[in-house]
């Protein structure tokens, strides 16, 4: 696949509002049982008003954007900086752009992607990057 150019946008994805059910499912399925994501009493003990979403859930959503666009077998690197907390009821959307095309080891043609996830009120949740093979 060589039709990817610098500046190309990755088709964005928007996910359903984060519900307590979403967080309960992710807690069980991911094995991340940190109570701050599912137990409001625990969250309040630590000064939060409510449970917060798992950062890895938003990263998984970014992964879905990437693998919906290109096959997962082309994904070489995927990194995220967690920039903000996600509250129940917020809507996450994922976005990205091809920032650079270059040659890696063995002349493999690679694309560096700058990617981010944000809430419906335009707060950054994740700022990250990925590298795919073309």
């Amino acid at each position: 696949m060589t039709d990817v150019k610098e500046g190309d946008l990755i088709p964005e994805m928007t996910f359903p509002p984060i519900s307590r059910h979403t967080l309960a499912l992710y807690c069980g399925a991911s094995g991340d049982h940190n109570p701050v994501h599912v137990d409001i009493d625990f969250a309040k003990q630590y000064g939060l008003d409510d449970v917060i979403a798992h950062g890895m859930l938003s990263m998984a959503y970014l992964g879905r954007m990437l693998t919906s666009w290109r096959p997962q077998s082309s994904l070489r690197k995927f990194s995220a900086r967690f920039a903000g907390m996600v509250q129940v009821g917020e809507i996450i959307s994922c976005h990205g752009m091809v920032s650079k095309i270059y040659s890696g080891a063995n002349e493999e043609k690679l694309a560096e992607l700058s990617i981010f996830a944000k809430t419906n009120d335009e707060r950054d949740v994740i700022v990250g990057e990925a590298i795919i093979s073309l």
């Binding site: 996910f15 049982h33 998984a60 693998t67 070489r76 995927f78 990194s79």
Partner: protein
């Protein structure tokens, strides 16, 4: 303050079977709708041995360490309510499929302080090998501990 003597600590490796049911449940929890992530026939038609693990799935493998939450929390006496996940990165070499057995190793790479020790950053790196001994992925996690 976290004890810096733990820098370089290597945890006892774990061997984790990648179960089809676990992959299907994980796919459901992230709303995945591409059948290669939950339907064996669709995955095989796409050229995979079986259903494949999504890019963030190695974190699920990490949940199999024998500990209340994460092994470094038990080791260092970390209060889980005071941590925040700061950074996460993965590098990929080969797919992980249902039926694989993944051998995971985990190490405390570094512990650094910021803001006069009120925040500490802990870096954990992991390697994942499959049943053939092939390196399939690596990960680097950074979490912040609020003292």
């Amino acid at each position: 303050m976290l004890d810096k003597q733990y820098i370089g600590h290597v945890f006892k490796p774990i061997k984790v079977p990648v179960e089809l049911g676990r992959l299907k449940f994980f796919a459901k929890s992230i709303g995945e709708n591409n059948p290669i992530y939950f339907d064996v026939d669709a995955a095989q038609k796409a050229g995979y041995r079986s259903v494949i693990a999504p890019p963030t799935f190695t974190m699920v493998i990490d949940s199999e360490y024998e500990s209340e939450s994460m092994p470094e929390f038990d080791l260092m006496g970390i209060d889980i309510g005071r941590i925040l996940h700061a950074n996460q990165s993965f590098e990929y070499f080969l797919p992980i499929c249902a039926g694989d057995e993944i051998f995971a190793t985990r190490r405390i790479k570094n512990i650094t302080e910021k803001k006069a020790g009120t925040l500490e950053f802990v870096e954990i790196d992991s390697e994942y090998h499959n049943q053939e001994g092939e390196l399939v992925a690596t990960s680097l996690m950074t979490f912040v501990y609020r003292n």
